[in-house]
Subunit: 143 residues, 2 copies
């Protein structure tokens, strides 16, 4: 039943699908006009509770200077708070603010984001496939 899937072809297919989907998702700002990148960082930070910029950069697979900019934008909007490390004067502690957590809660409540709407149109079985795929992709991205 399951036909053999050559990794190279699958890579091309996946790359194209992800590129296009990413573009689509990126255009539709779901909550509070935040970009996908910002939502991802905010989510990671909230899950972890509190992180240093370096740790958050590692979690997001991004270089520290990139994270500096992302955090600055999130801080401007009052979604992330920056406080000094208690013992190490170099480090900074990042945490989500109440407003940041509210944005995430709102996102979780959102049933009508562009992507969610599209997914709702799919048959249940395809959503199941995407769920398993999402887990596999997370694993691949972490590798």
């Amino acid at each position: 039943m399951a036909k053999r899937v050559p990794p190279a072809q699958l890579a091309t297919l996946l790359r194209d699908a992800i590129t296009r989907l990413n573009r689509r998702v990126r255009q539709a700002r779901p909550v509070g006009d935040l970009t996908v990148t910002q939502l991802s960082a905010l989510t990671s930070l909230d899950l972890a509770g509190a992180l240093t910029p370096r740790e958050l950069a590692d979690a997001e697979r991004v270089q520290p200077p990139t994270m500096t900019g992302m955090v600055a934008r999130l801080e401007e909007r009052g979604l992330v708070q920056r406080s000094p490390h208690p013992t190490d004067g170099r480090q900074v502690i990042l945490a989500t603010t109440e407003a940041g957590r509210e944005v995430l809660a709102q996102l979780r409540r959102t049933r009508d984001s562009w992507l969610a709407l599209r997914l709702a149109e799919l048959p249940e079985e395809e959503r199941g496939t995407l769920l398993r795929a999402a887990e596999i992709l997370q694993k691949v991205a972490r590798a």
Copy 2:
């Protein structure tokens, strides 16, 4: 067996997975130092044979000015050729050059791109899931 999948949660999972994977794939330039975006445009153009900038922009789900820049970068590298429309003086015809087609052929031959390597490590069954997922995602992105 298959548990119900709420679209909103699935949207969050997929969004995160795709964001992270996209970042990873974007960092690893597979062939000729081209970005994923450039490869995607070049592929679309090659598949179609010849397109106007507007048509290519539509195919890539991008605004015309964005395509202007992308095409300019591809032209600089000699991968895309621009020629005047035979009857309509406003339009331009884009086509891949021999070099452009060679890059794509090389890409298709490439068995060792970062993503292909990661996919090769997966069990066959997971690759099958990803294949089906890629098809579904293409459909979603096109919608």
